[in-house]
Symmetry: D2
Subunit: 138 residues, 4 copies
C-alpha cells in the first residue's frame, strides 16, 4: 500500500471532513478541501476545526513520508483570512527540521486565488515502528 | 435564541463532527464528543482535528458569551494522551484574560476517566457587532 | 550539586536577565523576576523576551526534575497584562503530561497582586543522558 | 527619530541581551545576535529566551513599520538546531497577514551557515496610537 492510500483511505476523520489527499513526497504533503455548507460555523464562514483538519492531513503525509509512525505532539494555527462556502483550500506541508525523533513541519493553507488563509506549525514524534504494510509514497 | 442554540445548531462543522454543546456561562463553555469510528486517523486513534474541533467549539461558547461576535485568531493545541474509539471527551473553556478586544482562553480536554487528553490555548478578536438575534446564554 | 544550583548558577542567560530560581520539586519549578529598567521595551513596559525567559527558567526546573537532560522543543506564550518597572513577576511551571520522552508543561506568570501576566506552554524532549553531577533537586 | 533607532536604542531588554537591530522596511524587520557566554543555558548551548528575544526584536520592527503602536499578543517558537557560543544568529520577520488591527508575522532565525535555528510566529494588536516622535523607518 502507498502512504497516499494509507492516509487517504485510512484517516477516517479527514475523509469524513471532506479532505482530499493530493500528493506526498519526502518531507512534503499536499491536501485540499472544498468548503461546503457542512464546514461553516455559526458565523457563516469556514470553521477553524475544518481548516485545522485539512492542515493536519497535509502534515500527516509529510511527517510519515519516512515510513516510520510519526505523530503530531502539538500544533499551532494562525488564521489570516476567512474561507467561504465554495472556496477551494489547499494545504502544503514542508519540513522545518527533519530531525529523526522530533521533526517539525510548517503548513500553509491557501485558497483558489493563492491568498494565504492560515499558517500552521507542528512538532511531531517519530516512534520506533515502521508503518505496517506501507511500502511506498504514492 | 440562546447562544447555546446559536452555536449548537448553527455551527455546522461542529455538528457534522459529532460535537455536542453542553453549557455556557460568562467566559465559560463546555462541549463533548463521543469518539466514533469516523473520528479515527490512519493509526486507529482519535484524529487531532477532531479533538481540535471539540476544543474550538467550547472556545466559541466562552468567547462569545459577552454576546459580541468574537473570532479565534490563532490557537495552539498540545496532545497528552491518545483518545480511543468509545472514549467520551469533554472540553472546558475558561478565560485567561477577559480583554474587551483581544481576549484569551484556555481549553482542557479530558476523557471519561478525567485524564487530560489535550491542552488548547487561543487568542480571539471581538468585533464591534452584536450576535444577531442572540439574547441570552442558555 | 542540586538542580536548583545547576540551573540557578549554570543558566547564564537567566542570570544575565535577572531571573531568580526559587524552588523545584518533581515536575514543578518556580522562578521570579523584578522588572527593572533593563527589561523594558521601547514602549516602556516589560519586554516579551524577558517574560519568556522567566517562564522558560521555571520550565527548565520542572522539565529536568527527573534529573535527565530535557530540552524545550517548542513553546508558546500569550500575554495578558503589561508588566511595569518595579513589578515582581513569579513563574510557576507544572507538568501537563509527564511523558518519559516528550513531556509537556504549562507555566503561569503572575505579578505581585496575583494577576495573570502570561500563559506559557511547552513541549520538551528528554534525552538518554543523566544531568552530569546533579544528585538532588534543592 | 527613525523606527530603527526607536527600537534599537529604546528596547532596553533587546540591548541588554546583545541584540542588534539591522534593518526595517514595510512589514519587514531584521536583527542579529552573536552568541556569547552570557547567552548560554546550563546545558552549554544558547538559551531559548535569548533566541526568542532576538526573534521578538525583528518582530517589533516589522510589526511597527506602519508607525502605529503594535504589540505582540502571543507568540510561538519552535527550536530546530542548537546555537553555540560564537554563532552569529540572524532573525528576519515578514508579515503573514497585514491586517490593520490584528496582523500576524513569521520570523525565521538562521545561523552564519544559513541553517534554520528556530521558527517563530506571532499575532499582534495595533493600537489607535501613532508611535510618538517616529517619522520614518531607517
Amino acid at each position: 500500500m502507498t502512504l497516499k492510500d494509507f492516509i487517504g483511505e485510512g484517516d477516517h476523520f479527514a475523509r469524513h471532513s471532506g479532505v482530499q489527499v493530493l500528493s506526498v513526497a519526502e518531507n512534503y504533503g499536499k491536501a485540499s478541501l472544498v468548503v461546503a455548507n457542512e464546514h461553516l460555523n455559526a458565523g457563516g464562514v469556514c470553521q477553524g476545526g475544518a481548516i485545522f483538519t485539512l492542515a493536519d492531513t497535509a502534515l500527516a503525509l509529510a511527517a510519515n513520508s519516512g515510513l516510520m509512525l510519526t505523530l503530531s505532539v502539538e500544533a499551532s494555527i494562525s488564521y489570516h483570512r476567512a474561507a467561504m462556502e465554495g472556496d477551494v483550500l489547499t494545504a502544503e506541508a514542508v519540513a522545518l527540521c527533519p530531525h529523526p525523533k522530533i521533526p517539525a513541519f510548517e503548513v500553509k493553507v491557501t485558497n483558489q486565488r493563492g491568498e494565504l488563509i492560515a499558517s500552521f506549525k507542528s512538532t511531531c514524534y517519530t516512534k520506533k515502528a515502521a508503518l505496517n504494510g506501507v511500502t511506498g509514497l504514492e
